[in-house]
Symmetry: C2
Subunit: 496 residues, 2 copies
């Protein structure tokens, strides 16, 4: 019976050949779509959690012979307008409508509808589980009874069936108990599916934690889950995650020079740095499309700008060594905090959709408001923002209510994004790095944010540097923690 | 009769020898105290106005043989704690209580109490005014009748009496009419004091305007005042102003290395960059004192960071040539605008005094809030702010009212000041400049702002760069415009 020869754990850590990004189930999961790894074979018995100041991100792997859903159309077409595929739920053409539910019979469980499949610990591999009643493994139901089926079933029960999915989940750090409960059910479900006791399952499961909360919540996780909990350094995990995601086809996206130019200069020619004039960052960027990197290439050295509640700026050298060289406290938490005080919005996505309807010119003081014209001599257009919120104070001493939530949201989203772009550029310039990756849960695939950061980098660098983004922007730390453990476990496997 | 030999206009433009900074009349005039120039002799017939996005700044010169008030104690003592001399009115030991009213008999006029003395146009110098009834010139009343008196009177009437004061006034740009009215009365008063008709006075008076409003309000000024109005480039005026103010004794102030070190490292030795550890910027800086530059030295090359509604960052070379190399829209207007929406404060000084009573830790997410400890590996103390306003969103979705105006003000003042300090440092580093001057009406001599900017520069530059401040921080553009005209008028004078 022919079985494809599979690479050993030593040869690779995570086999990303043929990796597919799955459909999103809703705009909510825009940045947390599963990744199917058809050639990945080793058992995985750990769950990774990256606990940040505002959000806790979870990554786990579940085995299945087939992708839970057909690869995303969005993911595979070379480029798509951001308003189609990246804006928040309010977008009419959101994939929400067109995406089928994942074909996992277990995904509809009332307790934790979000759980997909089961963990498959290496420890369960052995005579005491190899025989007897074969466990139901997600996806196998589809196969009819045959020699192949038996063989596959056996292989599945002993965890050597190739293929499976990386699953991504997000929780609010203030509701960390939800996150613990989710992992608890995942462990219980996995015990059930593998036909073992919870005790056995707990022995073979490990939680890899990173992010600030890894320290703060260490006791909570070990006591509640009664499994081994290991802490990993946040920055190391971010870099590991960046290295992994940049290997996934159609994961990385960006504005192509041509795109930016065709959009900002419909008529004139030439874009390559020298005599190309670059569009200033603006809260009203022209509609544009992004390009996806279908054929990943090595991305180091680069600058990683991780935008969560706060912002960390990390220089990554060609050999993967890194240093946190800068950062700013003006990050997602600043925007969310101020907008929760200034608008009725209660979620970040609400704030983003508010900002889409706003006009910042009612609150921002533009160069034209001060000069009545351009200040050409220093290259400031009349539409350039001279002072964010600069109109508020003078106008009736800025009585609250005189300004719309939409306008305030747009102004502040732009101010924070542009400031991050400016500081990121200056660091990239200082260290001579041309690739600037933006990660973290701030971006949310939001058109205005992506375009502001992209235009800021293009403008300040005169087109010499490029802003790069990741579909799984918020999960760098989590996937990094997941991978860090994998290495040794895979190695252990290989020695059997 | 002996008259001191005076330098010609050719030799100097503005004779700053023996310049004295006058007492402040109230905390309101903290940054607009008069400067007495005992050796300055040429007639001055122009008024300079720098019209920014939020404030219009006015500079004019009035002649008097004696300083209107004794030189400020603050100005002449080498160093003083900022909380004594630089905080807003709420400070108990504010010079307010101790400062005598200016001994100018005319300064109490009901129409415009703020007007001091009169303009003294060169054109009035001549036979048709030399004789006849001598005009009352402010200050001369003190002299008894004598040959000297007649001679002085004559000299005064023909504008060659040495000594006089630079006067500084501030108006809100939204109330530009108040500014126009002030200048109108100044012209009328000057005509009266010089015993000439308003028409004659108008012919000899010129308004030098700069700042964005110079373009926007050009017609308003020429039509309302019926005098010549000339526009000057904003950046040029800022640099001229910087060059002038840095010649005034006790105008420039800064944290001395010893001061910073003794404060941040009571025990350890060594401060010179290398192995000195520099205090992180913090909203709660240690109490400190500043040093005043009593013996001005050339200050170019340097970086000028002008913080008004928005922020302009200007590189100034040794020869005085300059370029606006950067800036940010997160400036004074941003702080004033957001705080006018988030607090009951209606003036910037109210916002500053609110911030003095606040605790930012209730709204800011600190490294310790995320990690439960320092993140030593990347050198982040638990007290470092990870995310400005980062606690607001998670806490009850940040319902307005749950956070105090004081805490919000402190957090936001720090966030804006620190961000400006960070961007300023990166530009100073990029252009290899060690002197970083902070000007503009944002600073207001406020302790927390000055310390935040100073600590940010010291921290990021590891002590290699220094933040420098100016008493007349808000008047660089105005004095620059005033000086630009002086040059040619003085020259014209010298040819007589």
């Amino acid at each position: 019976m022919s079985v494809p020869s599979l690479p050993t754990a030593k040869a690779i850590q995570v086999d990303t050949r043929g990796a597919l990004i799955l459909d999103e189930e809703s705009p909510e999961t825009r940045d947390s779509r599963g990744i199917y790894l058809p050639n990945y074979v080793e058992p995985v018995s750990h769950i990774a959690v990256d606990i940040g100041g505002s959000l806790a991100k979870v990554v786990y792997f579940t085995r299945s012979p087939d992708p839970p859903a057909s690869p995303s159309i969005v993911a595979t077409r070379g480029s798509s307008t951001v308003s189609d595929s990246f804006t928040s739920g309010s977008s009419p053409s959101s994939p929400l409508s067109s995406s089928p539910p994942r074909d996992n019979p277990l995904s509809g469980s009332p307790s934790n509808p979000r759980i997909n499949g089961a963990l498959t610990p290496a420890i369960l591999d052995g005579p005491h589980h190899g025989g007897g009643h074969p466990p139901t493994v997600s996806g196998l139901a589809a196969l009819d009874h045959s020699a192949l089926h038996d063989s596959l079933l056996r292989r599945a029960s002993v965890q050597h069936f190739p293929g499976g999915s990386l699953n991504f989940e997000r929780f609010q750090t203030e509701h960390i108990d939800d996150c613990v409960a989710f992992i608890q059910s995942l462990i219980e479900r996995s015990a059930q599916l593998n036909g073992v006791s919870i005790a056995e399952m707990r022995e073979s499961v490990k939680i890899m934690t990173t992010g600030g909360g890894a320290h703060r919540f260490h006791e909570l996780f070990s006591e509640q889950l009664q499994v081994e909990v290991r802490r990993e350094d946040e920055m190391e995990c971010l870099i590991e995650g960046l290295k992994f995601f940049t290997l996934i086809p159609d994961e990385v996206y960006y504005f192509s020079d041509e795109l930016i130019h065709s959009v900002s200069h419909p008529v004139r020619g030439c874009l390559n740095g020298k005599d190309g004039v670059y569009e200033r960052p603006s809260p009203d960027p022209p509609k544009y499309a992004v390009s996806f990197e279908s054929n990943p290439t090595p991305q180091l050295p680069c600058l990683l700008v991780n935008i969560g509640s706060g912002v960390s700026i990390i220089k990554v050298d060609e050999d993967g060594s890194f240093e946190r060289v800068s950062g700013t406290s003006l990050g997602g938490g600043t925007l969310w905090g101020l907008l929760s005080l200034l608008t009725p919005a209660t979620t970040f996505d609400e704030m983003l959709s508010l900002s889409e309807k706003g006009d910042n010119a009612t609150v921002d003081m533009l160069v034209g408001d001060i000069y009545g014209q351009d200040y050409g001599r220093v290259g400031l257009k009349s539409t350039t923002i001279a002072s964010s919120f600069g109109k508020v104070f003078s106008m009736k001493g800025g009585k609250k209510g005189t300004f719309s939530a939409e306008d305030i949201s747009k102004s502040l989203l732009y101010a924070v994004s542009n400031n991050i772009g400016q500081i990121a550029y200056m660091n990239a310039e200082k260290y001579g790095l041309d690739r600037i990756y933006f990660g973290g849960c701030f971006i949310r695939g939001h058109a205005a944010t992506i375009s502001t950061l992209s235009y800021a980098i293009r403008f300040w660098s005169k087109g010499t540097k490029r802003a790069l983004f990741l579909r799984h922007e918020g999960f760098l730390g989590a996937i990094g923690a997941w991978i860090k453990n994998f290495g040794e476990e895979g190695a252990r496997e290989a020695q059997r």
